[in-house]
């Protein structure tokens, strides 16, 4: 990846009590989703209660990190920094083996080679800013 410009307008997500374990895990190369101990369902994004049964008995669950591309686009126009310098790049919806879907980037292959249904595996891209850094889950061909 090219070095990203450090701009005052582009900050990192701030971890709070609910999301700190998620960002701590990505920094150590693990992708977490939430599991409801009450009704047994997985859910995402992380929150402290189950959106289905409202149980507050929820736990973190390590995702396998593998999934498939559900849909994607090759972005060819975006004036917002730092993405203008990254063009073209791929934004995709990835469906994890656990069933949850997330919006992410596909890296590690030519944008033209991405396909729906393509098997992908999570990787973690460091995003460094003046205030520190985080590791963002992105996906690469499996």
């Amino acid at each position: 990846m090219p070095q990203l410009p450090r701009t005052a307008t582009w900050h990192l997500p701030v971890a709070d009590l609910e999301t700190a374990p998620y960002w701590e895990a990505t920094a150590s190369g693990r992708l977490l989703i939430k599991h409801c101990d009450g009704c047994g369902r997985d859910f995402f994004y992380p929150r402290s209660h189950c959106p289905r049964c409202w149980s507050s008995s929820t736990s973190w669950k390590e995702a396998s990190g593998s999934g498939v591309v559900y849909t994607f686009t090759i972005v060819r126009q975006n004036d917002l920094p730092p993405f203008k310098e990254r063009l073209p790049y791929v934004v995709a919806i990835v469906e994890l083996d656990e069933g949850v879907r997330l919006t992410s980037n596909i890296e590690g292959c030519a944008p033209e080679d991405v396909r729906c249904g393509m098997k992908v595996r999570v990787a973690f891209r460091e995003e460094a800013r003046d205030e520190g850094s985080i590791f963002l889950p992105v996906f690469r061909p499996a």
Partner: protein, 396 residues
Amino acid sequence: MSKDVAVLGAGMHPWGKWGRNFVEYGVHAARAALADAGVDWQDVQFIAGGETVRNGYAGYVAGSSIAQALGWSGARVATAYAACASGASAIDIARARILAGLCDVALVVGADTTPKGFLAPSGGTRTQDPDWLRFFLLGATNPTYFAFYARRRMELYGSTEKDWAAVKIKNARHGLSNPNARYRKEVTEEEILASAMVSEPLRLLNICTTSDGGAAVLLTSLEYARKKGISDPVKVSAVSTVTPRFPKTVIDLPDIATDSAAAAAPPELTFRDSIAAAAYEEADLGPEDLDLAEVYDLSTALELDWYENIGLCKEGEAERLIRDGDTTLGGRIPVNPSGGLACFGEAVPAQAIAQVCEVTWQLQGRAQGRQVEDANVGLTINQGLFGHGSSVILTK
């Protein structure tokens, strides 16, 4: 008790890139709607505004900003924000007050002044706002999401660029004679297929632009309309503003994550399906009753999704509808006779109201140059960010 309210007047400020204060467009549209209804501003008991988030504090309180410009009158006021569904939310509030017997005459207005280019994230640094994160961490612009849906149509149903071009060509023709449309020019398949790739597979001419504009409707109780001597007004018979259901498995703008369908089957209807279904249920009508529809063609491919969402055809059959001319003026069920967002561009808080203006004029037989014959029932539908969406059914 009837759940209907009357649309006594409709008015718009032409869409364009005028660069003036949004209040000016709102006032223009409001005065046009009042004149259309033959009702004085002093007789309006309630004004509802659609909020614009790109015009400072005056935009956050759009209802009162426009009321002040019209002249303080002591009317009650509210401002609604529901992203692209803001105008319909304002209509819903006005309708509820009328049906509750709290007022007889309500004015609903939406207006916007938009910056150049794609809609950018709204100002400020909000690192826990999904809308902010998708823009700044993932580079996911609005067209990115339109492209997600278009790619799914390609994968599932073999949708092609030529199908999407057919949508644009149709809407461009529909809008030719609409005095409020920003673009009134035919476009060819060659021009569309040669336009710049923005977010693959969508090109520039597949994506709607952003516009300035204003729209207003004057709603009244049926009794008030009768007293004015109007016994058969166009009526609002349903306003749907439903939210999604768990597990929501479709990623909608600006979602960056969604529930799993692995342990719980997704609802029978997708979110977009459910917006229309709730409107049909409320109006006690179905897709077979429609004479026309105004759907939110943020992209040409998205218009095809809406055909299925509102029940004009089964999933995967929308391409056949556009190819066969079913949704063209003169066809079985004309869609976007106004020209749609393809000819207007999006003026967010005004757009859902503009859809209602068009259907009103169609049902009144006043849509010159784009009239749907014998139009008695029309539906509008759109989807906004964060689980907002709306559908309005109008009847004669």
